[in-house]
Amino acid sequence: MARGNMIGASVQRHEDPKLITGAGNYVDDIKLPGMLYVGIVRSPYAHARITSINVEAARKHPHVQAVLTGKELRERQKLPLTITWVIPADLKAPDHWAMATDTVHYVGEPVAAVLVDDRYAIEDAIDLVEVEYEPLPVVTGPEQALAEGATLVHPELGTNKAYTFSASSGDIAAAFTDAPVVVKQRLVNQRLAPIPMETRGIVAQYVGPMRELTMWASTQIPHLLRHHVAEILDLEENHVRVIAPDVGGGFGSKLNILPEDVIVPMLAMISGHPVKWIEGRSENLMNTVHGRDMVYYAEIAAEQDGTIRGVRAVIYADLGAYCRFVAAGLPVLAGLMLPGNYKMTGFQVDVHVAYTNKLFVDAYRGAGRPEATYAIERTLDILADKLGMDPAALRRKNFVQESDWPYTSPSGLAYDSGNYVPTLDKALAMADYATLRKTVDAHNAGNPSVRKGIGMAAYVEIAGWGPGQATAGLGVRNQLFGSAKVRVTRSGSVEVYAGAASTGQGHITSWAQIAADQLGLADTSVRVYEGDTSTVQTGVGTFASRSVSVDGTGVHIAAKRIREKMLQIAAHQLEAAPEDLEVGNDQFSVKGAPGHAVSFAKIAQSANTAHDLPAGMEPGLEETAFFDPANFTYPFGIHICTVDVDTETGETRLTRYIAVDDCGNIINPMIVDGQVHGGVAQGVAQALWEEVVYDENGQLITGTLMDYAVPFSSDLPMIETGSTVTVSPVNPLGVKGVGEAGTIASTPAVVNAVIDALSGLGVTHIDMPLRPEKVWRAVHGGNGNGTAPAAAHAGPSGHGEGTHDAGMHGDSAPTQGGQAT
């Protein structure tokens, strides 16, 4: 194929053949001679003092090879688990050691580990470790944790407050003073579990005489994991190799340095055997990061015609028991992204971040942006309702306009590019919005038991992490630049080594397309390698919708350098000027004379044998590129959906879903669609079903997939996708990234649709998830954790008064919404 044809082509995925035949290689598929198995003894209490640990009975078990207690591990662990995002500078964070020694701080915290030679003996051995605890008082919500006299999660900090953060611009007081319309809403963004279908897992092997550690880990960040494991275990970084084999999803939960990342290699070092730890699903729900868990008190002041004057919010965020890898940054993002797609004259956000006796929160698909988008998009719909204005018209009126670029948001972020009106128009056209509105209103006018609703949400997110200077300024300590190496072998086959690490996003295909596009080849001529620190030069990983705009650009630049060198060689051999040549169809030819050509393979052979090269040219065909973008990217879009809400059962049925996303240029439309589909499913699930629930003692109630309601195929409709293309100026591919878009937009769109369906019944808000019981209670007048029409709610001026955390997680264990098996 000629150059240019590979970008934008829905080629089939190169990674599929092994994955559809059972030939994939995930961590649990790895088996090494003499391998032993790790089990973790975990705290059953949310907060307790460890009074004794007796491991004698466990050590006598015939299959037990070793038992490691927290105190023993602590002596060998040089540094606590890494916090890589330190914001603000006065962040208060406790040292987080891989195992508790004296006090446990959440249910599931590791206190000991067993090493056995038979996988089926793991549970038996765990049961034989006798740990005695003295329970301590528990705090389970951020507002409760920050109240006067609250139990301290970490007494050594002297407070439960991790930090406060504020940002403002314009004159917020003037915006609200005498504003014709002000709306306020308390909005709970509930705690979620990421649930990749493959849980976490690690195989570790240590060659003692060489001090060489190899870890196969189900991770999104192999290079960062290597760096931090090496420093924590006091090994030289070049003695540690991390391999991320096939990884069965991540969604942020594998973007971390977690206790097992230390415990498992430590047991390999102690025992001299290769060791394997595979996380059970209950462990995954209890012990791998959760996401979200923020409460907003949001307010908008507006003119009578809908023009926004000011937006302000107070946010309470719950970090859980520790500050994990990037967790400190997420409430900051949740504040900075609050202005979204809109102009305003005043803006203010105040963020209060607390520790509690629950599992630590960290990145989960969207990570700060879904919270911000939910808050602004829900509150805008409440404003539209109050004004009697169409939600689409209200958004259109307040959008930042294309002519406003270069544009800096009220929170100080310089959006790379944007053009929101055409995206809205496209979404409205796909929905046939005007007709739809009439149909829905006519249906509801008959006061049927099953009511219909339409919901929409706009979003803009901060993606493409990212630029070195900007992220350093935000307190991010690790590198974020892109990394790629392209190598052409003597036989003319092309290899790409990229610093991202796919967990299902199809990099192996997309990077091949990017390289092939430059080299005039078919994508199938290119093989892509990721995830192994011994072969991939350097890298960061895959998260924050960063891979295509940062590492993908690296592939583009490295391939372009190869192309330029090959042009020099071809020009020499064809006795032509490089600028007179064109590249495509596996050859370099003189423009207008395709017969006067030299094949790609021939040039590759020349370069790799140093035969027939231009005088003085260095042999070889290998180029490495590191790409540090000048700015983040800001993808955006409009999602619209329709729902049926059965007021007699409270059940919501999603009937249509339309997603129009602008992620800049598109490499592979099929893959982009797939990212949107999956993101939408996760965001819809937050709106309707999913919630991590702890009781008042800090016990996890949703500890299995029987209790945590991941959606089924029968819960969702087909997703209608569309695009607009606003090219990003911050990378030469013009791409923005799309991995999180669906998750960000869909949650408010669905909640807005349900409230729209119930608007004739006086329901103005219900906190997520909109389980049937809560919807039923809201409709029938009970307290379904919804806001009755006349109910007062605290605003930023009165936060903390009359509120407590009992409302954080609903008033009962979750119903299952049809999740019977």
Partner: protein
Amino acid sequence: MKQTVHISVNGKAYDSEVEPRLLLVHYLRETLGLTGTHVGCDTSQCGACTVLLDDAAVKSCTVFAVQADGHHISTVEGLAADGPLSAMQQGFTDQHGLQCGYCTPGMIMSATYLLSQNPHPSEDEIRHGLEGNLCRCTGYHNIVKAVQQAAGQAPATANSRLQPGEAAAV
């Protein structure tokens, strides 16, 4: 006390000594090395371990190996053992019915069973037929299309994403 079992897996007969508490999924993965069948939960919710037992879909994490004694088991490794992909495997790759691939073997086995029982399912029947299998990546959209293709139906088209050549120049 170990027991002897005679199990046929993908057409090949095995005689094995197994512990009575050994799960079928671990027999397949650990004893026979057939690691295409995955484990995704502790409670039989996710379906990643789905195989066919005498042509019926079962969750192999909820079957003991001794219960498979005398029976035929089919796993994802057996579908294309003779060469070409099965229609269901072809549907999954053509329609982008997988991303991370972890649920895929179980999903393909469940979908294969579904079409064996109902060769011409409606979209609704496909969605309900796959309720025992969780996927976190695809939102099920392209999985439904994959099954439709395997059933010889025109997959639902519900998008207007840019086609090749429409993208802005780079």
